[in-house]
Structure formats: C-alpha cells, structure tokens
C-alpha cells in the first residue's frame, strides 16, 4: 500500500499525524490570534481579558494564566444585553450570522449560540474529522432518526456526512417504528443517535419482530447528545451487531473529541481546539496524563462567538500511550461524569454515571432506569427505579433486585433502595436523557 492509499484513513493525513509539539505550536499561535480578536471584538472578553496581552502567551503555562470562562458568565453576558439574543458575547455584526442553536437548558437558562457561514463550516469540518475517523465514507447511507430542532450535534453530523460524500437520510418526522421501517427500506448503513435512543430502538425493533443484527443493514453508529459509559457502548455494539463510536461536544464548544477505529478513548480535535486538564480543586493547576481532572476547552477558529478556556465541568483523564491508529493528538477518557452531577452522600463522592455503568454493563435484563436522591429527615436516600424486560418473571426479579443492590454497593460504597416499576412507566428519551433526579434541592 502506498503512503497515499494509507493516508485515506485520515480526513487530513498531514494534520492528523503531526507530532504533538507541532500541534501545540499551531494551537498556541491560534490561541493568541483568538485572544486578540476576542479582546478587540467581544465586549464580554474586552472586560474579562483586561490586562492580558495575547502576544505574551507563548507556552501552556502562559495559557493557564488566562481566566477560565464559566457557563454562568455566558448567561449573564447574554441576558437582557444588546445586541438582542447574543448580547456581549457576539464578536461580529449581527447581519453576518447565518445559524442559530441553543443549549438544552438542563443546567439552567439556555445559552443562545449563533454562527456565521464561515464558523458553521468550520464546525462541520471538525465533524468531518470525527466521522472519517469512525469509518464513515462515501459509500455510506446515513440515517438520522431525529428531528434535530435547535440542538447543534445532529445538524453538524448531517452536514459533515453530506460533505464527506455520504447519502444522508433525515428521519425526523417519523415515530420510532416509522424510523425503523425507513432504515430497513433504504438499507441504511450508518446511524447517528443518542445512546439512549439507540437502546430504545432495539426495544421497539423487537416489538416489531425485527432483529437489528439480522434484518437491518446498519454497520456503524456514532452517538451524540449525552455521555456514553463504555458498558452502554458495548451493549449497543452487541445488540445492534455494529461498530459504535462516541464523541464529545457541546453547543458552546462544538464537537471537540471523537473515537477512532481503535475505540480506546477519544482523540482531541487538535489543532482546531486547545485542550487542557486542570485540577478539580483549584481549577487552574494543570493535571498530568493518567490523573483525573476537569476538562477546559478553547475552540480556536470560531470567531463569531469566541470562547476562551471554557470550563466543561467534565471529569476526565488524558491517556498516556500513543494510539495504534497513527493519530498523534491527545486522547481522553470520559470517566467521571459531570462535576455538576457529583454529590457527597454520607461522606462518599457519588457520580450518577456509576449507576449507568453497572446497569448497562451487568444487567441486560434492564430496559430503563433512573436514580433519585431524596432526603429523609437528616439522611440522604438513593433510590434506583428500574424497569425490566417484560419476559422476566417474579422469581428472576427478586434475584435481580438483590444482585443489583449488591453490585451498586460494591461500585459506589452506598446503599440503594431498589424500586421495580412496570414496563413502559419510565420516560424514553430521544435527545439528552435525564436519569438522575436530585429532589433534595426542592
């Protein structure tokens, strides 16, 4: 195989194999340019970056001196501020905008994020890197079982698949059965969906007498919209009989990391993004590879609404060893859920992602679940509400209740109340799922 043939596994064979030092050099240069642009064009950053000289930023240590941007600051810079809708975050004239998206609002009031034609194309370009790494090619017919609405991920995925040369079939205005029929009818080879909806489609397919492994033509799936613990990814692979890839992104940042064919961690989309890991406590001290920290990201080419050192509040670790796929970019492992979801219960740090790992990884009989945190007098109580496959009998349920309680105890050091609910009672999510409810805040 010639080097040119070999390079077809990369969207950009040059950038994706650049050595880390060269990637960092490009990122630092772009960071300085973005800082200068933001200081000059965005009223929010003009204030926030007062006293910071972009030309002084030469190393990652210098970058760490620039203040982190929090999501609450974005809300405050928008709400009631001019120009209408985007407020002090906007760094281009309003008439140059072409695209609107917003955050889901799960952690507060939604943030509105616009793009110019140029910045939108850049976001789509980064998704091309992601899809290409996940094996999406011209020969694919990609089905998107969603109405994308005002949420960014699937729009980016749609246009990136189109740009790669795939044939894109939007499946928004259909119910789940209609979508399954459509993907069978057109022999879709690839899917983009949330992990939760991927699991739900299996349930519905079976009700329809369709086995996704045998009766559909799907070969690969890329997930978006919510975190996907490894047991959930493996379960999707097993039940669909396809390769399942994850990526990380958000409305504010765009998609900034994705899985390659090795499926071991996710490659940061360098040098389009500057990625940092900082200490959980101080939010400034850099964290070495292998240690848990909080992810901080800077999209380097989205000039219309600059975002500098955005605190993603995701707990992760950087993987140390090089990836056999040949990409030289940093790889991250999304391991600890979101900082916002972390709770200290009876002296123990608890992340709801633990429940998903245990249930999806060890109990294929479970169809849906949710975790509820309540307070009884002074004691916090964790309750797992769980639905099983209708074919499970009373005797099996009794045994499952015991085993689940035991496994959760081992994994989290906390005791759970287990509540079995009838099939179909718990909500099914098509976009971002919400399986953790903290009722102690009410």
């Amino acid at each position: 195989m010639t080097r040119k043939e070999e390079s077809r596994k990369y969207w950009n064979p040059i950038i994706e194999t650049l050595p880390p030092e060269k990637l960092q050099e490009i990122e630092l240069k772009r960071f300085r340019e973005l800082l200068r642009w933001a200081k000059d064009q965005s009223p929010f950053y003009k204030r926030k970056l007062h006293g910071i000289e972009p030309e002084d930023i030469r190393t990652m240590e210098d970058v760490a001196k620039v203040p982190v941007t929090e999501k609450d600051e974005l809300r405050a810079a928008q709400e009631g501020k001019e120009p209408f809708l985007y407020g002090e975050l906007l760094a281009v004239p309003s008439e140059s905008l072409s695209t609107f998206h917003q955050t889901s609002g799960t952690t507060g009031k939604p943030v509105y994020i616009p793009d110019t034609y140029e910045s939108w194309q850049w976001l789509v370009e980064v998704w091309c890197y992601l899809l290409y790494a996940a094996g999406f090619r011209r020969s694919d017919r990609v089905f998107l079982p969603f109405a994308y609405n005002v949420y960014i991920a699937f729009w980016q995925g749609h246009y990136a698949a189109e740009k790669i040369g795939c044939e894109v079939v939007p499946g928004g205005a259909l119910d789940t059965k209609g979508r399954i029929r459509k993907m069978k009818e057109v022999k879709a080879t690839a899917l983009m969906n949330t992990p939760t909806y991927g699991l739900h489609m299996i349930e519905v397919s079976r009700e329809m007498g369709i086995d996704p492994k045998k009766d559909l033509n799907v070969k690969k799936m890329i997930c978006a919209g919510e975190p996907m613990p490894e047991p959930t990814r493996l379960r999707l692979e097993e039940e669909w009989g396809v390769d399942v890839y994850d990526h990380i992104g958000g409305t504010e940042s765009g998609a900034w990391a994705g899985m390659c064919c090795e499926k071991r961690g996710m490659h940061v989309m360098e040098p389009h993004y500057l990625f940092e890991m900082v200490d959980l406590e101080t939010m400034s001290k850099p964290i070495p590879p292998g240690m848990k920290g909080v992810a901080v990201i800077t999209p380097l080419c989205r000039r219309c609404i600059p975002l500098i050192r955005f605190n993603l509040k995701d707990v992760m670790k950087v993987m140390d060893e090089p990836c056999p796929c040949g990409r030289a970019s940093m790889r991250v492992d999304q391991i600890g859920g979101r900082v916002d979801d972390l709770r200290k219960i009876r002296g123990v740090f608890f992340s709801p992602s633990i429940v998903e790992e245990v249930i999806r990884g060890q109990f294929p009989e479970a169809v849906e679940f949710e975790t509820i945190l309540t307070q009884e007098e002074v004691m916090p109580v964790l309750t797992l509400r769980i639905e099983f496959n209708p074919s499970i009998n009373e005797g099996q349920i009794k045994e499952l209740r015991f085993r689940i309680r035991e496994r959760l105890k081992i994994r989290s050091n906390l005791t759970f109340e287990i509540e079995i609910v009838k099939p179909g009672v718990l909500p099914r999510y098509t976009l971002k799922s919400s399986r953790f409810k903290d009722l102690t805040k009410r």
Partner: protein
C-alpha cells in the same frame, strides 16, 4: 517538524493556490458589490478558503 505524511504532498504549492483563490474571490466579490448572487457565493467560497488555510497553510507557516 512536519509529519512524514506531508512528503507526498506539495504543501507549498497548495498554499499558493489557496491564497490565489482567496485573492481572486475577494476581487470577484468587489466586482459584484451589491449583486447578491455574486457576493453571497463569493462569501461562501471565502468560508471554504478559510478552512483550506486551517487545513493546509497553517501547517507550513
């Protein structure tokens, strides 16, 4: 230092072409000032030359 993959591609020649396309498109846009079908399509081309610069030119600078 640039990765081995770059050896089979003439990045400098590509960079020159990208910059030439950018300059020509800016000129076209200027010639079509007020002519929406020309201006907007020229803007679209410029958005793609921006991406080509990020994909190619930035590597050799």
């Amino acid at each position: 230092m640039i990765g081995e993959e770059s050896m089979e591609y003439d990045l400098k020649a590509m960079d020159l072409e990208i910059k030439a396309i950018e300059e020509e498109t800016k000129r076209l846009k200027e010639l079509g000032r007020g002519f929406e079908a020309v201006e907007r399509n020229a803007d679209a081309i410029l958005a793609f030359t921006y991406l080509l610069k990020r994909n190619v030119s930035d590597i050799i600078e």
